[in-house]
């Protein structure tokens, strides 16, 4: 596992060392540090905004009497499935200076154009909409298993609801909040699509341009290493937030369920907030896609077969989900139960894949597999390996929280009663970790569905996915042909998302 995770950084190191002069020049260039600064600013802002959205949404959809709260959960988590470049494109088409919104209200209000959405704010909004479901799902999985009796005790000792949250609930949720924010921040580090369309030059965009415009692998490699360093810095911050967190309680089901909070007069407000977010993050993109589809159909556009792409997407995402969960469990277990140098190193390594643009991870695998394992090259297993490298932290973050919530004594008790370690794991640990497992599966499955750059490079010849179809069509301005696979992508991801969130709760 460690070797696999070392691949991308090692590849970058090799390519950087091939041209030592380039490394110096790139690291000394003021432009590099300006891009690094922009990247950190955006990552911090999106991480914070994701937590700010994810925490209340997790609470609303879990512990309140919000009507149809599970439906709302699925709706507000759906943006996770749209590729960021599509979201950005749709966002610009809708809210751009002369976009659909302007066409609707601009002339009537006498505005010649709306304020520009491009630059930092556009990138911030689009990436937050793409990334807050990370926070939502991770926090929600943690909150599901919190012990209600602690809150009840706090309240009975005279704490008000707010003080109770701050002093009892928040310390228990902090690792999950930090983990979700980290996932969102790292998503910003590696994203290329949204920042390209929103014209905000982060390091990932500069790396892509180095490959794309100048075929300059050395510059790209040096910048890639810089991204890895930034990722490790962010991971250390997160570690600081979740260290010393002891979340477990004595029993397996000994805790009391958290009593749902009656929202009272706030119910319409909460509903309106959920609706507004859904409108912006889900209805708006789906509306434009439908508009494209209908307009194209009216113009006699032919739509070709979706089936191979659908099959490819679902197969790859399902296999990758299982593999990633299996691969993430040992690392998560080590980190929680046997913290030490080994666990820390593995933990840090696993985050590097999350920070690197998938293009870089894919090229590292091309580099290694054509030299070490030519038989594996351009096969489905290699693509799945790339997914594991890319999505391991998404699974790991939820799993760690889940494992932290299980008291070690439960497993030890089972051992003293004669169960073998594997049986303990199967019959005690896994069932108790179910909310975390379900959240991890949902995260990995949905983000696999939207992955594009690595899929393009590593998929077996003739293999196709929905996100490839969308990209292929939209980049040649075939809007109707892009809309259909995008709508199908959202449609196929909703049922697994619903199922997984319900499994996690039960």
């Amino acid at each position: 596992m460690g070797l696999l995770l070392l691949l991308p950084p090692s590849y970058l190191l090799i390519r950087s060392l091939e041209a030592p002069g380039v490394a110096g020049a790139v690291l000394l260039a003021p432009g590099t540090w300006a891009a690094a600064g922009r990247t950190l600013l955006l990552a911090a802002a999106v991480g914070a905004a994701s937590s700010a959205l994810g925490l209340p949404l997790a609470w609303l959809t879990l512990h309140t009497n919000l009507p149809r709260r599970r439906l709302w959960l699925v709706l507000v988590a759906l943006p996770l499935v749209l590729p960021s470049y599509i979201s950005a494109w749709l966002f610009a088409a809708a809210l751009g200076p002369r976009g659909l919104l302007w066409q609707g209200i601009g002339p009537a209000l006498g505005l010649s154009r709306l304020p520009s959405v491009y630059g930092f704010w556009g990138a911030f909004i689009v990436l937050t909409l793409c990334a807050y479901p990370y926070s939502l799902l991770v926090i929600r999985a943690a909150w599901t298993r919190l012990d209600g009796s602690l809150e009840a005790a706090g309240r009975s000792l005279g704490l008000g609801p707010w003080a109770c949250f701050r002093r009892v609930t928040w310390p228990q949720l902090r690792p999950a909040v930090a983990g979700g924010a980290l996932l969102a921040a790292l998503y910003v580090l590696r994203d290329f699509g949204a920042v390209a369309i929103m014209r905000y030059d982060t390091l990932a965009r500069v790396i892509y341009l180095a490959y794309g415009s100048a075929f300059d692998r050395h510059t790209a490699a040096v910048l890639g290493l810089l991204l890895v360093a930034m990722a490790l810095g962010l991971v250390s911050l997160e570690r600081g937030a979740s260290r010393r967190a002891r979340l477990h309680r004595a029993g397996s089901h000994g805790g009391r369920p958290i009593a749902p909070v009656a929202l009272g007069p706030w119910r319409p407000v909460a509903l309106a907030c959920c609706a507004a977010l859904t409108a912006l993050a889900v209805v708006l993109p789906l509306g434009i896609l439908s508009h494209w589809l209908l307009r194209g159909l009216a113009a006699g556009e032919r739509l070709s077969g979706l089936w191979p792409a659908l099959r490819g997407s679902v197969t790859a995402a399902a296999l990758a989900t299982v593999l990633t969960l299996v691969a993430a469990l040992p690392g998560a277990w080590l980190t929680v139960r046997r913290p030490g140098h080994r666990a820390r190193l593995l933990g840090r390594l696993s985050w590097t894949g999350q920070a690197l643009p998938p293009l870089v991870v894919a090229l590292a695998l091309v580099f290694a597999s054509t030299r070490l394992l030519p038989a594996l090259y351009q096969t489905l297993p290699l693509l799945l390996l790339a997914y594991v490298i890319l999505f391991l932290p998404e699974a790991g973050s939820s799993l760690q929280t889940a494992l932290r919530q299980i008291h070690p004594a439960l497993g030890e008790a089972a051992r003293t009663l004669g169960r073998r370690p594997t049986a303990v794991f199967r019959t005690v640990t896994l069932p108790l970790a179910r909310p975390g497992l379900a959240a991890a599966a949902a995260l990995v499955f949905l983000t696999c569905l939207r992955e594009l750059p690595a899929t393009l490079i590593l998929s077996p010849a003739g293999f196709s996915t929905l996100s490839i179809s969308i990209w292929s069509a939209v980049s040649e301005a075939y809007f109707a042909r892009a809309a259909l696979p995008a709508l199908v992508l959202v449609a196929v991801s909703a049922p697994p998302l619903a199922w997984l969130s319900l499994r996690g709760e039960a």
């Binding site: 091939e18 014209r199 415009s213 393009l456 010849a461 040649e476 301005a477 809007f479």
Partner: protein
């Protein structure tokens, strides 16, 4: 970050292991110690020589040739042109020749980067690129094409060294918003856009390969300093930079900007989907110069191709009358093969004021990137 000594050793070992396997993949030299390379090279040579001895291969009509069978009837193509566009063309080729084509779709630049990383181990037979820059980047990995294929296309539209051939061509144009700009207001050549009257009205796509080829052409035609001055003048007019050509056309149609520097054929897609009411049209620059450049997409065969005969047929098919007509009707591009007419509603290729510039002059992409960075056009 604290790393234990053992872990550090592990890290270093892994890096060394990988470094030991790192051969300079950009270099085309075959490594005799590598069995996979030797085998691949031998197969390619064998099929290559039989093929060039076969008189039928001089025909450009693939269906007229003896059908390939078994493993020969397969082909792996890396395509920077998208499935949405050329998918049906590939299906036609498969139906006519019985050759099973496995396509790897991608953007031209990442595909070129992939080919460079794969080096001698590349499974690819053909690289079909959106622009000459991508082909130029992997030129050292491409094999010379047969004269029969090269002769289908005028010298201006193919690699001077014969490693790749143009497949379709497109003109640089000015796309303008029909409600705010009259065609007669548009300057005769690119220099006119540095006039402050265009401030805030221009859209362009500086990361796009065609845009960069245009700037390379300007450097060759007008010199480095004049190009730098033009870029500085443009930047003073605060052009809006889009991610690629299609968003520029969309923005011009919506009135977000008033003119855009793009390739001509994207407009066609918008007219099909949004109807004739779409508020943007193309203007072909009347004064010639780099703003009227005609650029090509192209294809070449990898030296390491395992299916060389099928690859030759594929490229012969791309420059055949049938495929050339496909590009005219489906993607609204100009054909490159002699004897095929361009789109009926466009000015004929011969009437365009494209400057006479050898394709080899467009190879200096690095110089253009440096200049674009220095002038702040690229980050």
């Amino acid at each position: 970050m604290i790393i234990s000594r053992r872990a550090a050793g592990f890290l270093a070992g892994a890096v060394l292991l990988l470094a030991a396997c790192a051969t300079p993949s950009g270099a085309p030299a075959t490594d005799p110690a590598d069995p996979s390379t030797a085998a691949g090279g031998a197969t390619a040579d064998a099929t290559g020589s039989t093929d060039s001895a076969d008189p039928a291969s001089t025909s450009t009509d693939p269906s007229a040739q003896a059908p390939l069978t078994g493993d020969d009837a397969k082909l792996i193509v890396y395509s920077g042109r998208k499935e949405s566009l050329i998918g049906p063309l590939i299906e036609r080729f498969e139906a006519e020749t019985g050759i099973q084509v496995d396509m790897r779709w991608g953007d031209t630049a990442p595909l070129a980067a992939t080919l460079m990383e794969e080096g001698q181990a590349s499974p690819a037979d053909v690289f079909f690129a959106q622009d000459p820059g991508g082909l130029g980047a992997v030129e050292g990995l491409l094999a010379p094409l047969s004269p029969a294929i090269l002769d289908r296309v005028p010298a201006a539209f193919r690699d001077p060294a014969g490693h790749w051939v143009g497949v379709s061509s497109r003109s640089r144009v000015v796309v303008y918003n029909t409600q705010t700009v009259k065609p007669q207001e548009i300057p005769a050549d690119l220099d006119g856009f540095t006039d402050p009257v265009w401030k805030g009205r221009i859209g362009w796509a500086p990361t796009n390969a065609s845009f960069q080829a245009m700037v390379t052409a300007m450097r060759k035609l007008q010199g480095e300093e004049q190009t730098r001055a033009w870029l500085a003048g443009m930047m003073a007019n605060e052009p809006v930079a889009y991610e690629s050509n299609a968003p520029v056309v969309a923005a011009v149609g919506a009135g977000e900007v008033e003119i855009g520097l793009v390739n001509h054929y994207y407009l066609h897609r918008f007219l099909v989907e949004e109807g004739e009411g779409f508020s943007a049209r193309n203007h072909f620059m009347t004064g010639g110069g780099p703003g009227a450049m005609v650029l090509v997409s192209g294809a070449g065969i990898l030296q390491t191709a395992a299916h060389k005969a099928a690859a030759e047929r594929f490229i012969a098919f791309l420059v055949s009358d049938e495929a050339q007509r496909f590009f005219v009707t489906e993607s609204w591009e100009y054909p490159v093969a002699t004897g095929v007419d361009g789109p009926a509603d466009l000015p004929p290729l011969a009437a365009l004021k494209s400057p006479a510039l050898p394709l080899a002059d467009l190879a200096d992409l690095q110089g253009t990137i440096d200049l674009l960075r220095q002038t702040g056009v690229l980050p």
